[in-house]
């Protein structure tokens, strides 16, 4: 208990960093992932090809390597100077977007063909069909897997601690420097993650119960 109370500042700063990364990357990955899913189902072959390539590459690369690129390789290109927090957010967003894309795409596949055919018969354009008929229905089917992706993102933010972004993953280092028991300190971190994940799982279940059965 002392480890927690004496170092409350570290814990607050650490989990603040984790939540900051999570919120930025969650919003970013939902937007980018949906955009890429749109590309992957679009009638334009080039965009489809790009979407497929993007998903294949990102899904088969370890997140650690993605962050490695942004932390060590990006500065070599002498582009815009960005903080490690920004770079880690970009890395997490790009990586998670590939998984979001797949979730959205499989959600689109669950929408009955008749829905789109009916909208086409009514003269809807591709964008209208996607935005007003298919995606709203697909979103319902995607609630459980999408929550899983975002929970994974929340846990993945800890990896950014290995690349100079202070967050929950880096708490142990400060504790170690201050001479506290690292094991107890880390178990507290683990417990907080269980507490953080629980409401997300709960939300997933209740949303799924409300929306999932409607078809």
């Amino acid at each position: 208990m002392n480890v927690l109370l004496d170092n409350l500042d570290v814990y607050i700063r650490g989990f603040g960093g984790t939540l900051g990364l999570f919120v930025v990357a969650a919003i970013g990955s939902l937007l980018l992932g949906t955009l890429i899913a749109g590309m992957r189902v679009s009638p334009v072959p080039v965009l489809r090809g790009f979407g497929t390539a993007y998903v294949t590459i990102l899904r088969n690369t370890p997140l650690t390597l993605v962050l490695f690129f942004f932390a060590f390789a990006y500065p070599r290109l002498d582009l815009v100077d960005l903080s490690f927090f920004t770079l880690a957010s970009i890395g997490l967003t790009l990586y998670t977007a590939a998984f979001v894309c797949e979730v959205v795409r499989s959600g689109i596949n669950t929408v009955p063909v008749g829905q789109a055919e009916a909208s086409r018969a009514l003269g809807f354009t591709f964008t209208q069909i996607l935005g007003q008929v298919v995606l709203p229905q697909a979103m319902r089917a995607t609630v459980p897997p999408m929550t899983n992706v975002q929970i994974a993102l929340l846990k993945n933010t800890t990896i950014a601690a290995g690349f100079a972004v202070f967050n929950a993953g880096g708490i142990y280092q400060t504790l170690s420097e201050r001479g506290y028991n690292v094991l107890v300190g880390l178990l507290w971190v683990a417990l907080f993650f269980v507490i953080l994940v629980a409401p997300l799982t709960w939300m997933q279940r209740s949303l799924d119960a409300r929306w999932g059965v409607s078809r």
Binding site: M39, V41, S42, P43, V44, P45, V46, L47, F50, T56, I57, R59, N60, T61, P62, L63, T64, L65, F68, F69, F72, A73, R76, L77, D78, S106, I108, N109, V113, Q115, A116, R120, F126, I129, L130, V134, P144, P145, N148, V149, I151, A152, K155, N156, T158, I159, A161, G162, A168, G169, S176, N181, V182, L183, L186, A190, F193, V194, V197, A198
Partner: protein
Amino acid sequence: MSSVLYDVPGPVARARNRILGVVGVAAIGTVIGLVLYRFYATGQFAPRMWEWITYIEIQYRILEALWNTVRAFAVAAVLSVVFGALFAAGRLSDHSWLRVPSTAIVEFFRAVPLLILIFILYFGLDQGIGIQISAFWAVVLGLMLYNGSVLAEVFRAGINAVPRGQSEAAYALGMRKTRVMSSVLLPQGVRSMLPTILSQLVVVLKDTALGFLILYEELLLVARQLGSQGQLGSPILQVALVIAVIYIGLCLILSGISRLVEKRLTRGPVAPKTTDTGQVGGAGVL
């Protein structure tokens, strides 16, 4: 390709798609071109930056690192499957003294980030109670606890997805609980779950890269070491690119195998379709 979302394009749509295609190529090309230009402008294409590939010792070092990655993956994969099977059996048990702790353990390890688990095993045990384990075992055991828990859920879903009539029929034939599980439910459950299990192994393979953060001598760590060597021209970008290609290649081989297995399985007779698979499989993304 005919799709849910659009008809076979007519002349107007084809023209529009071509324009969209050109715009898309231009946009993507600009980004890639910019990156390549920065590569060029900062001298990343200079021959000296790529020379390291030709050194035999460095090739050996990368091979050794590759071996370390594959070794950690193989041991962790086997242990995860065993762990998953044991705890799935625990969660499905009729005895609450077995079911409740199994559930708690599985839920706990699924909620804790893998990196934190590895830190607990590597730094926590050492500085907390003085048990020092090697970086290799910290990575492997961490992967086992995390992916084993995910797999336990996959197994459980697979067994629950076997039609009820199967176990009822087996009980009616006079089989005991163990026999029903081992000769009726497990063979059918594993069959429907095999693709999910195999794709979870891709996650195991990717996660071995976390060993980098506790200085386990795997691909990423070697990349960092090679990339910071001044006498090679600090080719971190180049090394990282080569390592990325290796990782992507390994993962594609693994997912290729899982697709092959899936194809063979769906070709045969009864492969109980589960609605749960995708969901549980998704829990393992990392």
